[in-house]
Symmetry: C2
Subunit: 360 residues, 2 copies
């Protein structure tokens, strides 16, 4: 077996001797090295460059690692390699009422995807007035390797700031307002989603399909709207007077739907959110119209509300799991300073069909 060659007494002997109430000092590289009768560096190599070791040595070291339950101290590793294996994500105070369960799905997928490459997600918050608050501290203290930025719409300054600081990051969301942006991003093709909804309603026999969307200032809202418009035009349908812009609010949608439904030829509604779609369902109920049979309604985001609402709301579902996986993939490339084929990648949402849009 291993004959522990007598070497200068290791400092790890002291901690192992005592029995205090405090948790025992976890084993270090030196502990493992002593136990296996090799040097620290060899243990390090066993973990990071196993191919450098002779197979027998590798096995021996590994078994000691296993036996002692050793894991490298992250702080020490981080100090030396200058990489923390942490990904920072500023967690915004998503306003109540919005379908922010999206964030939940996304965050979970991101956590999982990151863990597959040995990374973890670090959440931080910041002053809601200053979209850059929090980033700087983490950068200067070299606490994270990179950031995932989630709101790149409406001229948010994060991307520019991080590029200027030379901080690695990827974005969930295309760089709407930045012509010179050259960072990696992934986004969901909202226009495609709205078009799917529109085409589905057309297939169900609806012709005059209205759009309920957000204010013109919302880039995402306008993007989705363009999908509806495109779908309608491709089918030779006139969209004049059918596109409505309101705030994301059930009651606003209900009122808008009532107005549109004054015209009996309007039988379909594609909406920028589930909240708006539910407003349409309310209007239908008040008019004695049956969703599905009489009026086709499709929402966006496939929130819990869409799933539980009567009679089941069709909705466009974002592939958040894939977004997370893709973000982690390109983040990996960015961190390795490897070239990325496409700076940006657009993923397509899918349509979840429920009774609210089915004639039968």
């Amino acid at each position: 077996m291993t004959q522990p060659t007598s070497r200068p007494e290791s400092r790890t002997e002291a901690p192992r001797g005592r029995h205090l109430s405090a948790p025992p000092t976890p084993p270090t590289l030196a502990t493992v090295a002593d136990e296996a009768g090799v040097s620290r560096q060899t243990v390090s190599n066993a973990l990071n460059n196993p191919e450098l070791l002779r197979p027998e040595t590798l096995v021996r070291v590994q078994s000691v690692i296993e036996r002692l339950g050793y894991s490298p101290n992250r702080a020490a590793r981080q100090l030396r390699t200058r990489s923390s294996h942490l990904i920072g994500l500023r967690f915004e105070p998503a306003q109540e009422g919005t379908s922010n369960a999206l964030m939940d799905r996304f965050l979970h997928s991101l956590t999982e995807a990151a863990s597959r490459t040995g990374h973890h997600v670090l959440l931080f918050s910041g002053d809601s007035k200053d979209p850059l608050d929090g980033y700087d501290d983490l950068l200067r203290s070299t606490a994270v390797d990179a950031f995932v930025v989630t709101d790149t719409y409406a001229g948010t300054p994060q991307a520019g700031f991080l590029r200027e600081r030379g901080a690695p990051f990827v974005a969930f969301g295309r760089p709407w307002d930045e012509p010179g942006a050259d960072h990696a991003w992934t986004d969901v093709d909202g226009a495609h989603g709205a078009r799917l909804a529109t085409e589905h309603l057309l297939e169900q026999g609806h012709r005059r399909i209205a759009w309920l969307g957000w204010e013109k200032t919302s880039r995402i809202g306008e993007d989705r709207r363009s999908g509806w418009q495109g779908g309608m035009q491709a089918a030779g349908q006139d969209t004049r007077g059918l596109g409505v812009r309101i705030t994301d609010n059930v009651d606003a949608a209900r009122l808008a739907a009532h107005e549109l439904l004054e015209d009996p030829s309007v039988t379909g509604f594609a909406c920028a959110s589930d909240t708006l779609a539910i407003g349409v369902l309310h209007a239908c109920a008040e008019r004695g119209l049956r969703p599905g049979r009489d009026i086709g309604v499709v929402g966006f985001d496939d929130s819990l509300a869409a799933q539980v609402t009567w009679p089941g709301l069709s909705s466009v579902r974002q592939p958040l799991e894939e977004v997370a996986v893709e973000l982690v993939r390109i983040l990996h490339l960015v961190l390795a300073h490897k070239p990325i084929g496409d700076k940006g990648r657009m993923l397509r949402p899918s349509l979840v069909v429920r009774p609210s849009s089915l004639r039968s």
Copy 2:
């Protein structure tokens, strides 16, 4: 001003000279020390024990820190002090359809509360089959200072495991099945919430109020149910035949509600979740009963669904923000090895009243 006494050339001069494409090396303690004409230790004290410095020195050092934009390197500090200022939270793959927007609210509050004491939240995931997966790695690599455990019901082994390992943690959720548990926890008094709902319905003139809850195996479900039962008994109402246990599913609730509504004396429904409550609303719609006027319905969790559903679903709202603040508070005590007054603290939910339970 400061006369930079000539001292052995500091190693920090090299990095400051070059101009590569790589991001510039951030300033270190030594940089600041040189610049301010003091030793490293003095700069360190300026940050950690300002009262040790002479006021003038303090000001001088602080101004240099400010000017250079210095933040201590977290890895180095963590290595030396053995504390990462990170709080680990295992982010479970909350099943779709459940009102997991809860988690979103909680997580955000936790992030904010933690940041107020200079901590960050580290998310990790683990094999869904092994509830302990992930904890061990983070512990052994000393990556986090403590954990927040969120699911202590149904005999989950996390608490026991962490206590055994001597790892600091606090729990969101009381230790249901552990008589010997001595860890700190915070929970929401579900029974109180259900009682609030029941009393509210009684006030609205309902007498025969049914309970729609989860399977008997759910400790949380049984806890909430006991609140309904207590409220009914206090009002001298018989609960026989009114308490139903089903799975958390709209359709199951709809069917159960239909059955209960066969008895016309049943006019109120307190539910263990919004999903179940919405099932009741569906049944009402199918029977031509008007929620609020004819039937009083109250859900639980105040999810998005409760807010947007017609006609607005009353619901019990958990004080997740307060839970997070409280958890961080006691975590602070635990980390400082200070005694905690109460091991556990129960917070009270509130009732959000909407038309589904209002007669007028």
